[in-house]
Symmetry: C2
Subunit: 192 residues, 2 copies
């Protein structure tokens, strides 16, 4: 077996287990079993559990950013691209494995004791906010729209995770529509 094959499998298993049950609740032996790897090889690939956690965060960031961008790219107009963010959320929330944003969760679990985890979570959120800001700019919206939509997306994730329903994605999407149209100077009528 290739060395990097083992790395990949370890990180993938860790991602799945940490997401499902929390980082601190999953021990190295359980991870070893799930990855089908010896404990020796585990510590040969990663010097510590902390480094596995960081590798998982990197994997999550790549996966999220790529998935989001793929969905957004399919939308034809700048306005549709902004709304596509919430379609991506809706699809994500519907997955059985969805248990909230992995960065929020790891920040809550380890942010206070691990500066690395806290910094990475911050970076991930900043990168998302920049992405949304760029999409907003492309749509010709004033700069306040980006943060507003980012906050909506963030709130939808937390709400969906704790309530256990997909509703938050469509509610956030409807709110986003209003905010976008107002920011673009369109006429908006409230539905009664």
């Amino acid at each position: 077996m290739n060395i990097s094959e083992a790395r990949t499998r370890i990180v993938a298993s860790a991602d799945e287990l940490y997401n499902a049950r929390g980082i601190q609740a999953v021990g190295m032996d359980e991870l070893r079993a799930a990855a089908g790897v010896s404990l020796k090889k585990l510590y040969q690939e990663f010097p510590s559990k902390g480094s596995i956690v960081m590798a998982v965060l990197e994997r999550r960031h790549r996966s999220w950013a790529e998935g989001l961008d793929a969905t957004v790219r399919q939308a034809p107009t700048p306005r549709a691209r902004l709304l596509a963010i919430f379609d991506y959320l809706a699809q994500w929330f519907g997955e059985d494995s969805f248990r909230g944003c992995g960065f929020v969760n790891s920040f809550a679990e380890l942010g206070a004791v691990s500066p690395d985890v806290a910094d990475y979570a911050r970076q991930h959120k900043e990168s998302f906010q920049e992405y949304v800001g760029k999409l907003s700019e492309d749509a010709g919206a004033p700069p306040y729209l980006g943060p507003q939509l980012s906050i909506l997306a963030e709130g939808a994730q937390t709400t969906a995770a704790i309530a256990g329903t997909v509703d938050a994605a469509v509610q956030a999407r409807q709110a986003a529509e209003v905010l976008i149209d107002v920011a673009l100077g369109h006429e908006v009528r409230g539905a009664a």
Copy 2:
């Protein structure tokens, strides 16, 4: 020393410590020291760490609900009362001890392994959503406004916690203004 005095001090210390460093990172001995109580008395008041966690959640819920309601009551109109939610958030985010919503954090840490914690977090969020829904109804807004504002508030909390700034509260407040006015059928002009 009165028995319920000890209980109160234990729960207050636990709240502070759990908030600052995470529940799993704080051991019973550290809590005992912070509360100024013997380990014996600790287990005399609470049968287990889990029961202390639940008591902390109850305390947090009461404190949050009372603080929010006090701020909201000061606002003169239904519209101002809806916006007061975000003033409350802004003040909260500015506190040194702010480290994100305690229910989101405990859900992230223990929700997957403790149904009690998960259920309580769900109840807390539901209760907040009902509260916002009631305020929306009082303002004469259509029923979709409540969830929209709840999601905004939720997102502001997470964003402020991870970014470490208060900005999210005022950004969410501005978005809320737009959503409220559109929902009430007012004319809204986008600022450019």
